[in-house]
Amino acid sequence: MATAYDLSENHPDIENGARVPFVAVEDLHKTFGIHKVLNGVTLRVSRGETLAVLGRSGTGKSVLLRLIIGLETPDSGTVRIHAQDIAGLTLDQMGAIRKKMGFLFQHAALYDSLTVGENVGFPLAHHRRDLSQAERTRRVNQLLVEVGMEGNQGKMPSDISGGMQKRVGLARALALEPEILLLDEPTAGLDPISSGEIDDLILKLQRERQMASIVVTHDLHSARTIANRLALLDQGKVVVEGAFEDLQQSDIGFVKQFLKQS
């Protein structure tokens, strides 16, 4: 991309040549009405890698995640999951791909009529009908322990705090043991202590599970903590991509301003 500062020379896919990225986004465009949200975004994320997507509000960060998981359709460009183009897939074909992906929504999007335990067990109940009820319950408890929410199985989502809801949302996203994890503002609206806890949790999960993760965030501190690479979006394009040090060395005005204000 001629206009973007591509600082990703140390990208693991390029080093290893033949290695196929888990997520490959090529020249993605998306418009809502007259508002062009994405204007040619290209990104790749491999196994064990965490990419943080940063940018101002309304620059299409969340839309990018929704396009990757197929909740929105791009105007042009491609999204490949494990080298498979998701354009034109039926709901059932897309379902097979989504089973390999976990999505944490910005406001957790827990099912408000189900308990915490039922929320976490929801994907298991629908996709792992081969498991006994006891085994499903054991897995739900294990996931809740993993996110530090043990003992809260019977509570309703409305009875727990925002930070706890995000933990439960994360446990639900991990229920099918995904290879790709998409996190939409995992620390937004949380106090610094809760944000730090969520960051530590994401780091721990990354170490243990070696997923390919994309984290959309405003929080530069959080992005530095959890991501191997950062991509900064402006006016629908990736203006810079690389390690935090690469961003610091960038001479693009917007990048400097973003780092200064963060």
Binding site: L71, D92, G95, M101, F103, F122, P123, H126, H127, R172
Partner: protein, 283 residues
């Protein structure tokens, strides 16, 4: 840019005698925009119906959710439907007695009550009551799930939301409407007879015998089972309005209102077609 165009662009009236150039699309917009909106709505409803009915017809089926919806649509609507049926029975009884007495046709009272309740009032009143209660409830519930991204979360979990949410609700409406209609009819007949029995001696046995005298299955079954079509309309429109909602609390309110209004309207319009169809198919 011509002189007149530059004047128009600057927001200044063109010189006298020179007509202002207004784009053709701007002239037709007040007509074409609402027409396009209506056509788009029907197109989206068609696509939604196809996806929802396909999900309802193909396994795996969401039995647990279906049972929950049968309870929601059937058991929980029963008191309201029964009450509405009972009230209608009394009203028709009072009106019929007065009108028939004027023409010296009091002996026709049982048949008048039975036919007007079972063929006309029972189905339509049940449809409208369920449309109000269930249509608003489903529309608001699904709209609330939509605006809080719960439907997106279902889809992101690789679960078909049409299969999980729309199909059981639509099937529950289709199955429960005829049963609720039978309940409404029964209540209306009992209260109608009771209202008559209060003023003159008429046993329930006499009333039923006289009312159903000469009736065949064709006289009542098509009229009762046409309410399955009402159920389809209520379920489809409520799910469609709920699952396409945008905006926050305002969107939820709008979805609930639109569900009731549109379901009731289409139900009455469908009745016109169904009555004619039944008269042709079951003469």
């Amino acid at each position: 840019m011509s002189n007149s165009e530059s004047i128009s662009a600057a927001g200044i009236d063109p010189p006298f005698g020179e007509p202002a150039k207004i784009p053709w699309s701007a002239i037709t917009a007040p007509v074409t925009r609402p027409v396009n909106g209506v056509l788009e709505w029907f197109g989206c409803l068609g696509i939604f119906s196809w996806k929802a009915l396909k999900a309802a017809a193909t396994p795996p089926y969401e039995w647990r959710e279906l049972v929950r919806q049968l309870d929601e649509v059937g058991s929980k609507s029963f008191p309201l439907v029964a009450l509405a049926g009972a009230a209608i029975g009394v009203v028709i009884s009072l009106e019929a007695r007065y009108s028939l007495s004027r023409f010296g046709a009091k002996s026709m009272f049982p048949a008048t009550l039975v036919y007007s309740v079972v063929q006309v009032m029972g189905p339509i009143i049940t449809g409208l009551v369920v449309s109000g209660r269930v249509g608003a409830g489903m529309g608001a519930e699904l709209a609330s799930m939509k605006v809080t991204e719960q439907i997106d979360a279902i889809e992101a979990s690789a679960i078909n939301p049409y299969r999980l949410l729309a199909a059981p609700r639509i099937v529950a409406c289709i199955l429960m409407l005829p049963l609720l209609t039978l309940a409404a009819d029964a209540c209306a007949l009992v209260t109608g007879w009771f209202a008559q029995a209060m003023v003159e001696s008429l046993s329930f046995h006499q009333f039923i015998n006289s009312g159903f005298n000469g009736a065949t299955f064709n006289s009542f079954l098509p009229q009762t089972f046409k309410t399955a079509v009402y159920g389809l309309i209520i379920g489809l429109i409520a799910c469609f309005q709920g699952m396409r909602t945008r905006g926050g609390a305002e969107g939820v309110g709008r979805a609930a209102t639109n569900s009731v209004v549109l379901a009731s309207l289409f139900l009455i319009l469908a009745d016109v077609v169904l009555v004619k169809l039944i008269l042709v198919v079951f003469p």
